[in-house]
Amino acid sequence: MSKSRTTLCERFTLVAAMSAFAGGLLIAVPAAAQWDPPPPEFIATTEPAYYEGHAAYWYNGHWVWRDDHGNWNHYDREPPYLADRRAHFPPARRSWQGRR
């Protein structure tokens, strides 16, 4: 009985430790990777950079672009060309209100 209790206790400890580890990983990844595609207002008002045959937009910390099927994508790592471009030519935004 005593041995059985010890085993049970050990298993609980093991399970708790593993769940904490797994839970920590599952929570940490989405938190770091959250991104949203830009709204139409942003696309309409912002100049893109052209890279790898498509227009890329720097939006909330990511370079995002649309593929041939209309899906939004983003680069896992900022390509050096785009990083350099962003450093020297920050993406310009345009307003049509109140000017002529």
Partner: protein, 316 residues
């Protein structure tokens, strides 16, 4: 005991799954995809490294540039050709190509001058009406029709300029232009079709007006009720005709060979929709608002509408 083993097994199963997530996060040069329909939160495993310059500025839904665009589309209804002209402004072309495209855009804008003049008249009629305390419905209807007729004739006169534009742009630049035209249409539709008439929610036309004029709760309620009781959108104003035209334009413009004249059937079907629907909704809004305002509020609002006459439109 059996239950404990089950839980234990399930949790052990989670570990490799978590490990897989961790592995894909570190995959070099990988990309992730989001479906065309915007999602509330895209599931992704990507993390960009630190920016070489200042931290990225977060662009929220209430970003001032976004809001200015929404306000622009609330007041201007020049149609799809106007969206194309605006799209050119933010193509981000290199200097050599920019000069060639500016020349085409200048021609495009010159051909769109009748629409610009008609829009100017419509906004003037509305501003005058607000200032005097009563918007003349017959003058408004005539002005809206003038915008519709002018924008209906644009496609025929701008076909050559659009073909030149196509031939000047590279495939990626054409795709960017199409994306921007669609974006302008989405924003226009959002504020002129999808937004419920009389809605008081944050960011709506009425909420923005309330901020501008410092409306009382009673004034807001009266305006909201008047707008909600306004005329419903009829089949004549079905935005699907514009959807169809923009899709036809996108397909044709993304092709290697483009003939703007081939778009005449869909252009004719959608012609005037943006002007008639947008102009009528604009007028209805100010017709509902004007009787509820104090003389001082009317003065401020009339000046605000007149400022829209100076917006950077289709003609420089």
């Amino acid at each position: 005991m059996r239950q404990i083993r089950w839980i234990e097994g399930a949790l052990l199963g989670l570990v490799p799954l978590a490990g897989l997530s961790c592995e894909s996060k570190s995959h070099p040069g990988g990309q992730s995809t989001v479906a065309p329909t915007p999602l509330p939160s895209a599931s992704s495993v990507a993390v960009s490294p630190a920016a070489p310059t200042a931290p990225p500025q977060i662009v929220g839904a209430d970003d001032s540039v976004n809001e200015e665009l929404r306000n622009y589309h609330r007041h201007h209804h020049g149609g799809v050709t106007m969206f194309i002209s605006m799209a050119i402004d933010t193509l981000g072309l290199d200097e050599a190509k920019k000069a060639a495209v500016a020349k085409i855009q200048s021609d495009l804008r010159a051909k769109m001058a009748p629409t610009h003049d008609a829009e100017h008249d419509l906004l003037s009629v509305i501003a005058d009406g607000i200032a005097s305390g009563k918007i003349d419905t017959s003058k408004v209807d005539a002005a809206v029709e003038k915008v519709a007729v002018a924008s209906s004739g644009i496609h025929a006169t701008t076909s050559d300029a659009l073909t030149q534009l196509h031939d000047t742009l590279a495939p990626a630049e054409r795709a960017a232009l199409v994306d921007k035209v669609r974006a302008h249409w989405e924003v226009w539709r959002k504020v002129n079709v999808d937004e419920k008439a009389g809605s008081k929610e944050k960011g709506t036309r009425l909420a923005k007006l309330s901020e501008l004029l410092g409306l009382t709760a009673d004034q807001v309620d009266k305006i909201s009720a008047a707008l909600a009781a306004g005329a419903p959108i009829g089949p004549k104003n079905d935005p699907k005709t514009v959807d169809t035209h923009i899709q036809a334009f996108a397909t044709a413009f993304l092709s290697d060979k483009f003939d703007a004249k081939s778009l005449s059937p869909s252009a004719a079907a959608s012609a005037g929709h943006v002007a008639r629907h947008g102009g009528a909704r604009l007028a209805r809004f100010y017709q509902a608002v004007t009787p509820v305002l104090t003389p001082q509020q009317r003065t401020v609002l009339a000046a605000h509408v007149r400022e829209r006459l100076d917006d950077d439109q289709v003609v420089n």
